[in-house]
Amino acid sequence: MTDAVLLQTVDEDVIARRGVWATVRRRVLFWLPLAVLAVLLLMAIVPQLFSSADPRACDISASARPSSPGHPFGQDLQGCDVYANVVHGARASLSVGLVCTLIALVIAVGVGTVAGYVGGWADSILARLTDVFLGFPFLLGAIVVLNSLGKRSVLSVSLVLAVFSWPTLARMVRTTVRATRDAEYVQAAKAMGFPTTRILSHYVLPNAVGPVLAVATLTVGGVIVAESTLTFLGLGLRAPSISWGLQLATAQSRFQQAPHTLIYPAIFLAATVLSLITLGDVLRDAVNPKGRS
């Protein structure tokens, strides 16, 4: 039997060549979303590179005019250039989406891990706490909080949105952590006397966090849209701020007369979310040893 074990050919080259990077490197589905995100990021940092037009230089006489020379995406209700608005709105939208998701994820992983791993009374308390946040009407909460905050910056809006989006993620973290906690390899690690922090960081979280990250990438899109809802109610970023959410919010009521004002920002939002989801999927597969080639 031992001979049989040793007879199996060991292809050492294969083993050496299959880190995360080696797996990811040859996949189109890794590079494509990465390229899209890079362009969007560049757009957010230096919008002047993409559009020399001033998004606030509007010609009210050209209200809701479809694409024309000089205005590739057409003009919106106020006659502002849609393309310039999309380019300049990337910064606010992307930062709200990413910052808010990041904050929500940190809170969710923290709370969810404690609830799922410790269990017992800690679980009960944290579960009720998440329920309180889930049960609280989102808009009402946002109105109260944002009205009491004097200044509305990207950070404060993200923070408010994060406060209302972490509970769903936390529930997921709790469930996956709980399932992993009872796995035999975690029991084995406990039996070997490893410190709890090590068990959490090396055993529980790497095996539990996969599905949560997948949902988190979806959250980014949801948050960008939620920001637009707040803005629509006059609670989010205020004009003269420019964001995709603002554009979508003003465009949706006039969709039939001026569809281009809704479609172009929507395409950018969809591209962002799609890239993030694809990238998240590819990375999740690559980080899991079983998904590697």
């Binding site: 039997m1 050492e12 084995a188 690690a189 039996a191 070997m192 790497p206």
Partner: protein
């Protein structure tokens, strides 16, 4: 005499991710009327796939070739409607996991009646009920259990209900796929007894698929030995056990643990015991505040360098004792000393130091290794955490450890899913001995493995123990395995220790009635001995 079922040059190919793998390769054998045919083989031998093919139950990525004739027709060429008419009515099947095969939301009565009425629609509801009660009586379950749900029955009872359902239409052939593998030995015996009693009551033949040579010796008339998709040998049961003609059959028979192989070393008594358990009680809080006592006042001692077998059936509390020592189960009262250190009164740092002195090997080699880490990381982690070994030194030690469990050191970069079950268990053992433990707790280390693999893993465990002289608490349900590796044996039943002593005295001359029952229920790979025992049981 024509065969009930006949496989002729059956081939089954699975298409997985573009590549085709042959699971069954040119299998030919027949099941004769009225006989019990055992198909034996290790995992991956294609025995279950062969059986599924006979019912047309192969998964959609499988392609079958050859011919399976049943009552003159070719099963492989049958339409969906013809197959439906065949299944249940003419060929019935029993699966391995009885609690999974019964629908949890219906009573067993409803499931029986449904089966009867599907195949005999002319029967009235009350007639079907009568028949269901009759069937339950046949498998020795009182008729009033008709209203019970599956979770209210034990595993053995569930399996007997499955047999009753399978027999509802008096099939010409009953295929049982590992029908007792998930059950305890005493329960296994009950189920096999019922199965054999059925044989005289129904007209059909029984084809039983198993990996257990003891079960084969117990029930079979003829045996088909399979390996890697091909038939190795077909023989009458006595002939097979007395004169196996093929090399593989001999290896398989030799691999079955028969015990008595270990020389006990006399161990000095004055040393500090490696493990001392005093009146240990473990209680779990069950639902609605009820406490469940898993272990009741168990006292047990292990001297350094001694292997003690802890034997019992599922639910006897044997694993809970192991867990209490490892700190995975609460110690309600009593005391556990590991190398003189009391666990309940130890400080956190003392406790960590003590844990580092205990090695552990779990039952499921697939589950006990971190799937995200390479086996090198898993093996080296205790050294890194408890001893602070790093870098090149760590790599060298990992290679040594892998070498000591007879795995190539270069495999350190592999992941657990790339290894076979036996290889993974070797990795677990390497990890368990990495800190040179004074005490090893092995919780059913071989019960998830094939017999031939089990034999090599036990061999490895013993040679390592000879070299490193750790004390070992060997938890197992398998008396033959315990007989092979242990110096002393302790028998548990329902949370209590019913008997303990030297291996020879406990296993050859048991005092407690439970131990006697356990020993008699465990099937031995000897058809004559098994039929003698069966005769005794039926007489008494």
């Amino acid at each position: 005499m024509t065969d009930v079922l006949r496989f002729e040059e059956l081939t089954v190919d699975f298409t997985v991710g573009g590549t085709t793998q042959r699971a069954v390769d040119g299998v030919s054998f027949g099941v004769r009327p009225g006989e019990v045919l055992a198909v034996v083989g290790e995992s991956g031998s294609g025995k279950s796939v062969t059986a599924l093919a006979a019912l047309g139950l192969l998964p959609s990525n499988a392609r079958a070739g050859g011919r399976i004739s049943f009552g003159g027709a070719d099963v492989l060429a049958m339409s969906r409607a013809e197959l439906t008419a065949l299944r249940g009515r003419r060929i019935a099947m029993i699966f391995q996991d009885p609690s999974g095969a019964l629908d949890p939301v219906f009573t067993i009565g409803a499931q029986l009646v449904e089966m009867i009425r599907t195949h005999q629609p002319s029967l009235s509801r009350s007639a079907a009920r009568e028949r269901a009660i009759e069937l339950l009586r046949m498998v020795e379950i009182p008729g009033n259990r008709l209203k019970y749900y599956p979770h209210q029955l034990s595993g053995g009872q569930c399996q007997r209900v499955m047999i009753a359902i399978a027999l509802a239409c008096d099939p010409e052939l009953l295929i049982a796929d590992e029908p007792t593998t998930a059950l305890d030995v005493t329960v296994q015996q009950e189920v096999l007894d019922v199965l054999l009693a059925m044989r005289s009551k129904i007209s059909g033949a029984i084809m039983i698929i198993t990996h257990d040579m003891g079960v084969v010796a117990d029930v079979a008339d003829r045996v088909v030995v399979m390996r890697k998709g091909s038939v190795v040998e077909t023989a009458e049961v006595h002939e097979l056990f007395d004169h196996p003609t093929q090399e593989y059959t001999r290896t398989l028979l030799d691999a079955v643990p028969r015990g008595g192989a270990r020389e006990s070393d006399p161990v000095a008594d004055q040393e500090v015991p490696a493990l001392r358990i005093d009146e240990l009680v473990v209680e779990y809080r069950g639902r609605r505040g009820r406490t469940v006592r898993a272990v009741e006042e168990v006292s047990l001692g292990l001297n350094p360098g001694e292997i003690v077998g802890l034997v019992g059936e599922s639910g006897s509390g044997k694993s809970t004792i192991g867990k209490a020592v490892l700190g995975l189960a609460p110690i309600t009262s009593g005391e556990v000393h590991v190398a003189g250190q009391a666990l309940t009164s130890a400080s956190a740092s003392d406790l960590r130091k003590t844990r580092a002195r205990i090695g552990v090997v779990f039952q499921n080699p697939a589950g006990s290794l971190n799937p995200r880490g390479t086996i090198g990381q898993s093996v080296g982690e205790p050294l890194a955490v408890h001893r602070g070994v790093r870098g090149a030194e760590l790599r060298r030690r990992v290679e040594e450890l892998l070498d000591s469990v007879e795995l190539p050191g270069a495999w350190a970069g592999r992941y657990p899913h790339e290894l076979s079950g036996g290889q993974r268990q070797r990795v677990s053992i390497a990890r368990a001995i990495s800190l040179d433990p004074g005490l090893l707790i092995a919780d059913e280390p071989t019960s998830a493995l094939d017999v031939s693999v089990q034999a090599t893993v036990l061999e490895l465990l013993r040679s390592l123990q000879d070299r490193l002289h750790f004390a070992c608490l060997f938890i197992s349900h398998d008396l033959a395995v315990v007989d092979q590796v242990c110096d002393r044996v302790a028998v548990m039943s329902q949370g209590r220790l019913v008997e303990q002593g030297d291996r020879e005295s406990v296993l050859r001359d048991p005092q407690d009635p439970y131990t006697v029952r356990l020993l008699e229920a465990a099937p031995v790979p000897d058809p004559r001995e098994q039929s003698r025992r069966r005769g005794l049981r039926l007489a008494g």
